[in-house]
Symmetry: C2
């Protein structure tokens, strides 16, 4: 975009205010599809990268230097604060929790998170990013939503069905609620510390919302999200909730006190906006696979997302899920430029 991007577009869109152009960023924009990221990762493992502020800040900023993105997002992992709470885990490459948590006693033994003490490198990364970010782009801090963290803690490793986590909800609902409460408290502390360190918007990733029936989502996952966000409201920064595979959950999410709802590519944004009502902005939702279309076709797919999003203020363009490692960076450049051109 030759004219240069106005720094305020992302934050304005979060607040459903008019914007000079449609803001765009890309989930997992700091990642393996970028050769400069792979060059860093060739030297250090994933965990070291998340724990070394200079390197984490560097990879956070890489996509901002290459593309005219409207926001940066902290490079970290949703499991990082749990490590800070003493949960032993390995990245292999997905997170593997050495001792899955399935009893009240294990829940009660989880210590509170004190971010400045337990994960200072995350806060240092935020300070470094803020000091070096191009074009004054705002920085998004993030955490895993409590139910999504529960999935990993209960199952011990990534899986397709997350059977033990879903079983816990039905067989030991009170243990599940106890764990969700503990995680909500910790993630509230974690995101508040990120905001104090300089994060200008805060996002909760509910990667596994799609495992739940609407009834279980409303009983378990949503109250934990509401509790996390309630602690953050006084900070005055926009709050974003990403619910992957959440098409049928939007009527429930409509009642959540949040500024922006991010959705995956499996649902149409016009229907999502109808279900959420006018009081929330939306973020999304191009299929990451669309970046493999020929350039002219990619534009048609972007047009379709913009048409679904409509003209009302409060849309942040994004993919519906994380960008795939085998994506051509030039396709991302075309995407970002075209979204900005379309305004």
């Amino acid at each position: 975009m030759a004219q240069g991007v106005t720094a305020g577009a992302f934050l304005a869109a979060c607040r459903r205010q008019p914007v000079p152009h449609r803001p765009v960023w890309v989930m997992r924009q700091a990642g393996r599809y970028l050769p400069e990221y792979r060059a860093v990762r060739a030297k250090v493992d994933f965990e070291t990268l998340t724990r070394t502020p200079e390197l984490a800040a560097e990879v956070t900023l890489q996509p901002l230097r290459r593309f005219e993105l409207d926001a940066a997002i902290l490079f970290s992992d949703i499991m990082t604060p749990l490590q800070g709470m003493g949960v032993a885990l390995d990245f292999a490459p997905g997170p593997h929790v050495r001792e899955p948590i399935r009893t009240d006693a294990q829940v009660d033994a989880l210590p509170a998170l004190v971010p400045e003490r337990d994960v200072p490198f995350v806060l240092d990364t935020i300070r470094l990013v803020r000091a070096g970010v191009p074009r004054g782009a705002p920085l998004i801090g993030f955490a895993g939503a409590p139910f999504t963290l529960l999935c990993y803690l209960v199952c011990g490793k990534p899986s397709k069905e997350f059977g033990p986590a879903r079983t816990l909800l039905y067989a030991q609902p009170h243990t599940a609620e106890r764990l969700l409460g503990r995680l909500a408290e910790a993630m509230g502390q974690y995101l508040a510390a990120q905001a104090r360190a300089g994060a200008q918007a805060l996002m909760l990733f509910e990667s596994w919302a799609g495992l739940l029936a609407p009834r279980e989502f409303t009983r378990f996952a949503l109250p934990a999200v509401a509790r996390t966000f309630a602690a953050l409201r006084p900070l005055g920064v926009p709050l974003i909730y990403y619910a992957n595979q959440g098409a049928a959950l939007m009527p429930a999410v409509a009642g959540l006190d949040v500024d922006v709802v991010g959705v995956d590519w499996r649902c149409g944004l016009s229907e999502v906006r109808r279900m959420l009502g006018p009081g929330k902005a939306v973020q999304g939702n191009l299929d990451p696979a669309a970046l493999f279309a020929p350039p002219a076709e990619l534009k048609r797919h972007v047009d379709a997302v913009l048409e679904e999003a409509g003209e009302a203020p409060g849309h942040i363009f994004n993919l519906g899920h994380g960008i795939w490692p085998d994506t051509d960076p030039d396709a991302v450049a075309r995407l970002v430029d075209y979204v900005h051109e379309r305004r």
Copy 2:
């Protein structure tokens, strides 16, 4: 259920006619959660089981002997007819296609399926089941829906994202449509032969509907399903389409000429029925994880599904997805009896 189950409940519900009790069957009811199934599998591998009519009929009937289920479903695999078409694959345990199909030339080289010649053992299994089924329970024949089969053929193996299949839709849409057309034709032939052999209802499994944005679902997956079913309409048997993770796709599915739409547990049946309109029955949709709840809690979860389904004719109770191998068979007995008691 002490009073005995009326044989016609399932077929009547498919046609949205009044029923003496709510019919119920369980996806993957012939499977690893049953000790008698595991005993058969201890003697033969999965593929041999699917290709040996006496054994395939035996495991098809096992759950009907143990529970008062309202329908049997053929024991087979969605990849079986593709093997019949000469696609080389292994079950390891999911299907692995030795040479993924990604070009027009490969699509054109796929021969037509002649079920009586290529998969006679499936038709023999159907005849054996019909001859031995308890209580006159009807038998459901099935096939994989074309897009779901495409996912395996293009990717070569099961995966979480099925990246190469989704990439094909965007990068080579005409090759994708060519393959879908070929698969629709073959599955139409396959299901017609199943009906001639004695199957009394025909079901297409769209296990990977949830990979697609509504737009791509409508362009690629749905026309192939419509084409498959169009060839079957003259047979006069109920047609069932199961769309896994299809919450946002129901408005599109509403236009499909099909008797029953099966849905997963991630959506509420009342909303599904509203979107589909009064002209379709629905099938589902208890979370398979709910079978791990204590007995009294399981009843509450069943009640919730029945309440969502409503009183209008045209609901077949089922799980929202296949039963898990570690499920207690006694929980299935309690489920079936309670659904029948509730009427």
